[in-house]
Each structure stands twice: as C-alpha cells, then as structure tokens.
Symmetry: C2
Subunit: 329 residues, 2 copies
C-alpha cells in the first residue's frame, strides 16, 4: 500500500497574501468603522479587533463578559485601555446588545468574536430594523496562488438549501460586495455538478433560471452564467473542451454554490488543502456583519474588516435599496 | 348592460391563405408520399385525402371499414376508384394496421381521419419501431392576417403537462419542422404568464432552463428565448416597454406553450376568434403523423399533408438522429 498523502498544512502566516494586503490597505480609511465586536474572549478575536484599531479600520465596542475580555487582553498583552466595553453575561446577551446598538445607529458593523455563528445571526435576523428586502448571505473572499485573481464564494456558510429567490439574493449580494470593493463588474459562475441543464439535477435548472433573471434585470451589476461545473468555471481550457461559449467560463470572479454543503466542502478544500485564506462577511442586512471563523488568522480578520468598511462606506446606498423583483402578470 | 360581443365566425374558405397556398405548392412533389389514411369515413377526411392525391402530394392507403369508406365516397361524389383500401373493422384495428404498415416501411406517413386522436396515437406510441429518442409532440402551423408571418405553436394537442426534457424535445421538434420547410432558423419564444423568472410560476424556471439548454447545444437550429409573455413574444413594442432585449421578443416564429391547456386555449382563440387556420402534424416519431382536427377544412388538410411531405423528404435525416443530451458528470 502506498502511504496516504498528508494534507498540506494550512499556512499560518498569511499577511503576505497580496490581495489581502491590498484589501487591508484600501480599508484603512480616515473614518474608522464603529463596530460591535461580539464576545472577543479569545486571543484570535480580540487580537483581530485590536489590530484593526491599529490600522484605523474599526472603532470597536467590545461586547461580552468584561472580566473575560480584560483577562484575555492581559494574558496576550493586548492593549485595550482606550476601548469601550459593554459588559454582557453571555453569548446571547452580547449578540442581542450588538444588534440593539446597530438598530439604534450607534454601530455601523458587527464583528463576530468567539461564539457560534448561529447565535449571533439569530439575533441579527430577529431585529426587524436590520432587515432589507433581501435575505442575508455570506460571502467568502478567497486569496491564493493557483488562480490569477481572488475568488469570491457564496453562500458557503449561511443558507443551507436556498430557494430560487434566495439564490438570486445570494448572487446579488455577492455582486454588490465585489462592486463595493471597486473591482468593477464581476463574472459570476453558478456552480453545479455539470454544465448540462437537466431535471435529474434541479440545481442546474435553477442556475439557468438565475441567468435568465439576470437577463431580465432582476440581478444587476454582474455577468451571470450557469450552470457551470467547477472546472468550466475556473479553467478556460476545460470550458473550451466542453464547447461552452461564455464570457464567464474559465475566468469566474464569483462562484455561487448550489447549497451550503457543496460550498462548505469547496471552500474548506481551498483553505485547508490548497492554502487559500478566506475572509468573510455577511451581506443583505442593513449593516455588514464580519463573520470570520473562530480559527481565522489576524490578516484574514483584517481583510474581513476591510470588506466591511468598504461595504459600509461605498456600498451603503445599493444595500439600502434592494432590487425589487417585479411581478407583472 | 352592454351587449356581449359575438365571436367572429370562423372563415370556412381558407384556400386563399397565402402561407397555405405556398405550403401546398411546395408539397406538390413528383414523389407523392405513401400515406396510411386512418378511418376516412366522413366527407372531410376522405375529401382531404382525395384532394391530396389530386395534388400529387400523397398516395394513400385508405384504412377502415371498406363499406363505410365506399359509402362516404359515393354520397359525396369522391372518386376513390384507383385508391388502395385495407378493410378494418374499427378505429383500433385501423390504427393498428396503419402502424404496422409504417413499421414495415410500406407507408411513409400516417394521416388521421375520423377518429379520436388518442386512439391513433396510442397505436403509434406502442410500436417501438416508430419511436425515436424523442417524445412525440404536435405542432400547429397557423396562418392568419394579424401577424406578418406564420406562427407555429407547440404543443397544444399531445403532451398534457410535459417535463423539462419533454419540453426540450417539443422545442426541438418544432424547430426541426420549421427548418424542414426551408424557412431557415426560427425564433422560438417559450411562453409563460410573465417574462419574469419566479418560483411562483415554475414554468418560468423551465423556460429559462430550456434557453440554457439551447446555449449548451442540447437544442439546435433555432434561437430560443423565454420566459416571454404572449405580448412580449409577438409585439416588439410590448417587449420594448418591458425592457426585454432579445432577438426573439416581438418576432417569434414558434411559440412553445407551457402546457396543453394554455396551448389549446391559445390556438383555439386564434382559430375561432382571430380567423387563423391551423394545419397540424406530429413530430418525433420515425414518420410524420398528419393530425388535423376532425373539423379541419380541405386546405388545412392539404397544408398538413404538405408539412408531412416536406418533413419526410427533407427532414428524414434530422428526425432519425435524435440529439443526444449528454450527461457528463
């Protein structure tokens, strides 16, 4: 038996990823983003917040058990002397408080610290003042060396099995993020297992439907194409071999996955085997929600803050006016 | 109360419809089509067959109760002296015999006389030698004065509630017919209640999916667009008002209806209120099946024969090699 190939270890030092450097640079604005940081009670999340302060990216309100936050700071020599703290007993309370501050306009973004995603998002979803006409969705901005540009993936974290209309919103949210970053018009690939439209795989039908929605103006700002298999989406050669003529095939900027399971596997494969780093943000609420995983490195957290900052600064108008899907029967 | 507007009576004399004149002219080939005429036991169906013989379009085998056929001929002064008759006791037997002759290659087309459509088609469907890789579907070729060109409608007669793959075949069958007639590349509108893609109306999703199937080469020979509402499909002005940019919108040659109910209402409205005549043919079997309604006029029957003749002559190759929908997973 041949020995199993060990998965390549994830690179811890990601400060050197050019895309993130660029992002972080872009995000260093004079007006730091007032941000509720929920449960910064471990080194990674508190350090991410503190580093973002140093970069003038955010002005945080640290929300959580004050003694735990202070203890974490002390243990890891993080200076939080100047930072505002709101004492909350637990994850639920802290999430609730962050959402309240956002609803009152006292913070412009929410950043997840050391707590399960669903607890924070439950609070966000339940606050009607943070809702838009769209459902919320998560976007990863991945950066690595095997593809000539950053790759955005959505939704690999939030919507488990989205409906057609939710997929439309997911697609629009990702396009909006891309545009907020000043990258122009993205090429959006709607992924499925195959580029053939067949009722054997309902996702392929929905992908085709989303393309037509884009043709009809129900999705704007991006060039949308699908269904595409992963190879067709990122390899021009593979697309040509399959005879696919499309402006998107082979050079996608955004990959829309059919469901959370496939998206989760895809981004984890890219992150843990291919050495990609994944900054993340939730779009579709009235304010950006910075949602890096608990294991995210500082540069990734900073890149995520940068995403939020640029969305808040440049994209506020678009996000606050959700595209209406007209139904003229 | 205002008096109800009376529906305009259907015009009986349709010999003057230029499209049908043209079709019938095209169909008058030196080699008449050997055709099984099933149950020509009323004036309309027997006269249609006899007229088609006079035009050198078909060479019929009249199949049905011989005494009834002869009695009909006598009563209506139709000369059937030279025509072959196969004596069959009833509709089932006559249908079965027609299909046998077709399977043996002794006839090149089947023409429906005075019997219910489903009895004839049941026999056709059950004969494996007449099957192709596609399902059968019916195409109407309508001609009238309110639209600058003939309009093909499918499927308003055969498939009640087709699946995505059946709709694909329906679309391909209609395109094939159009091309067999030498009309070039048709503009195909996939009709629905609205041009917006929405899961509220699953037909709109399937229409979008069929467009993408065409992009991927699973449908060939036509320009396919949908979903389109009826107005968008046939009126450029309506399409422009809705902001639809498409080569098909406003100038469709072929209308693919989402299901039999809507198609039936549509073609009947065109036929009985708008004065259109509807020649008809079934595509997707190894031979064309001429399937005019029992009330069809002689010119319509002749036009239908012409369709069959041109399909048999010019389109045999395409029909016999069904496009394979490849599934490369």
């Amino acid at each position: 038996m041949r020995p199993q190939r060990k998965p390549q270890a994830r690179q811890e030092n990601t400060a050197d990823i050019p895309f993130y450097r660029k992002l972080i640079g872009k995000g260093a604005q004079p007006a730091a983003l007032k941000t509720a940081v929920v449960m910064p009670v471990d080194e990674r999340s508190l350090k991410g917040a503190v580093e973002a302060v140093h970069k003038d990216m955010i002005m945080p309100v640290l929300i959580g058990p004050e003694d735990e936050i202070r203890k974490t700071a002390e243990e890891h020599s993080l200076d939080i002397g100047q930072l505002e703290i709101e004492d909350c007993a637990n994850e639920q309370e802290a999430s609730q408080r962050a959402v309240e501050l956002a609803a009152q306009g006292r913070v412009e973004a929410i950043m997840k610290g050391h707590l399960p995603t669903h607890i924070l998002l439950k609070a966000v979803v339940q606050e009607s003042q943070l809702r838009t006409g769209r459902n919320m969705s998560h976007v990863f901005a991945l950066a690595g060396k095997d593809y000539p540009k950053p790759l955005f993936i959505s939704d690999a974290a939030l919507n488990i099995d989205p409906t057609l209309e939710e997929k439309r919103n997911i697609t629009q949210n990702a396009i909006d993020l891309f545009r907020c970053l000043g990258f122009g018009t993205p090429k959006v690939a709607l992924l499925s297992a195959t580029e053939h439209v067949t009722s054997d795989i309902p996702d392929t039908i929905e992908a085709a439907a989303i393309c037509k929605m884009a043709d009809r103006g129900a999705i704007t700002g991006g060039i949308v194409e699908g269904p595409l298999a992963f190879d067709n989406a990122i390899s021009k050669k593979a697309a040509e071999a399959k005879g696919i003529k499309s402006k998107v095939a082979g050079e996608a900027d955004i990959l829309i996955v059919p469901d959370l399971q496939s998206g989760n596997m895809l981004y984890k494969q890219m992150r843990y085997l291919a050495g990609y780093e994944a900054a993340g943000i939730v779009m579709g609420a009235r304010i950006p929600v910075i949602l890096t995983s608990r294991a995210a490195t500082t540069p990734t957290r900073l890149a995520s803050c940068a995403l939020a900052l640029m969305v808040a600064e440049q994209g506020a108008q678009e996000r606050r006016e959700p595209v209406e899907i007209e139904k003229r029967l």
